[in-house]
Amino acid sequence: MKENGLNIAVAVSLLFHSIIVIVFNIAIKRNVQYLDTVTYTVDIITPSVMSYPKAKESEIMPAPIVKEPEQKIIQPIETKPEIKKIVQPKPEVEKIEDKIPFDAISPSERISELKESLKRKNKRSAELDESTKIDKIQKIRSLASIRTNKSATETDLIKQSDNPPSGAPMTAEQGDRYYEKVRDYVMGFWSYPDLGKKSMLTIITFAVDINGNISKIKIEKSSGDSLYDAQAKQAVLKSNPLPKPPSEVEIGIRFGQ
């Protein structure tokens, strides 16, 4: 009797826990899909993804600003950013002089230089204000696009579960062979100079469809060095399309050195 009670208790506990796991699982799965779709869209249209060290905010191109409100919602994934149309922030000016000049600089020139630097300072703070504004607009816009994309994602999900991906799941041997191929492929497109930086690690995740097309590229872990991250991401982008996998796969690549 005691034993039976215990068994039931164990079973109930199991049920309880597994429900939590399942709910969590589904939540994550949805969440991932949901986030992935968003990241995908944003990655391609938002230039600020590839910021470099020392590239000041004012030097990085603001995201394309679309004037017509209806275009805010419909953002075709294939849209490539058009640099030419964007209003440029004024570039920084560096005045260069020979440290060891054999002819001296006239004082009047120094004064005009001082004035210049003051002007520049004022301009820069104005630019900063402008860029935060742009950031805000961008955030609002990406939220809007998430909302519109959400419904599409949900229907896609249903469709997917109705029609599971073609191609049988990979056998371990097939998998090993395929992942080795992917490694060689991506490595061939990865270029990063020996800058003497040690213990760097960037993890890039992406999905590969049955034709080898890459999607959902994400930086799962940043190395903290933007050049390193950018070159790792470019290696993946350049590898597209990859050799065809036996079935759809999700891959994470740890770029380490």
Binding site: I8, A11, L14, L15, S18, V21, I22, N25, I26, K29, P47, S48, M50, Y52, P53, K54, E59, M61, K80, I83, K84, Q88, P91, E92, V93, E94, I96, E97, D98, K99, I100, P101, E109, S112, Y179, R183, V186, M187, F189, W190, S191, Y192, P193, L195, I203, D225, S226, L227, Q231, K233, Q234, A235, L237, K238, E250, I251, G252, I253, R254, F255
Partner: protein, 423 residues
Amino acid sequence: MIKKILAIIIALISISSVVEARVYIDITSPGARQIPIAVVDFEGAEYGKQIADIIRSDLEYSGFFKLLEQSSYVERSNESFDAENWRPLTVDLVIKGSVEVVYSNLEKLIKVNISVFDVFSSTRILNKNFIAKENILRLISHKISNAVYENITGLTGVFDTKIAFVVEDANRKFIYIMDWDGERVRRVTDGDNIVLRPHWSPDGLKLAYTFERLKRWGINLIDLRTLNSDTLLISQSSNIVGDFMSNGEELLISSSKRGSSDIYKLNIATRYLTPLTDSNNIEISPSMSSVAKEIVYVSDQDSTPQIYIMGADGNNKRRVTFSGTYNTSPNFSYSGEKIVFSSIIDGRHQIVTINKDGTGMTQLTSNGGNNEEPFFSPDGRFIVFTSDRLGYKALFITRIDGSGQKVLSPNKVRALGPSWSLK
């Protein structure tokens, strides 16, 4: 009852197993060590191409970039950047620019605008203007190289630094300076019977060097802005200049004023000498790392000349080299990680690097000639040295891994004793 519950659990789990496992792959080294770039000729008649050429040469020699063949460039500098044009060329970065002549107070100036584009994100990652006098076109180009290099790698460029050295003619010796790439060579002294390797002040505006006149050895400090020089010390004992201390107020020298050569700090303002070594052996060639606050030097205290290190106050002396029987002219990298020196290997002087702790000894030259007097660039990525492999002494440059060795000093000029400015 239990079976039912288990069945439900199993059913639920199988429904929920929609999350696919992600497979992780490790890649531990890049396929290529160079970032493919394109430097398009700048727009602006006479200067555009010259400036682009200098930037190409700077970036290429850094060893970090692979320049795309110019004939395959798909856009000119005055055309808008379109990443789609460049993608098929598998180039990562595109550099464009324009040059215009502007007048300020009736003075002719050149204004250069540069842009660095990232092909894969279709973004401009750098946009900057440079203004300079027309006569320093090379310097402005080097400054642009620095800006591009720093923007991309996050490291400080040395493309605007200088090298000082000694030139010999039939009976006199002179101090010269030139840009890091061997251009803009200028003589800065009138000549003496003997002149030894000059050393730069930390601000890059002065040089200290040893001369000999009427059997007396002196140390001069020359201000490169005015070319006025000041004799800091002169005596019958041999006084040989080493590096400046990092504060710029003291100079490391070796002097035989007490018989055998020892290392001293010479205060430039007071001319006061503080001994750092005190022995009957020979201690010479002090070189300082500003970061490590340590001095590397040569001593023959264990019968052969070997490399030693001591603190900036002369304490904690220790031997670094244990192989080779003749190790001389050490130079400390600015960061203090590495030491480069010359070692006799198979009867000839060769350039060798070693870590401060005595590990990782690497021979950089193996050429038939003698390779001596190495000196680090401020970022520790290049070394300038003297070699007689051409049949006469000339300055050569190499990357830290021994690659890219090339002549730096003017053709058919006897050049030696190089020293690299920090700024």
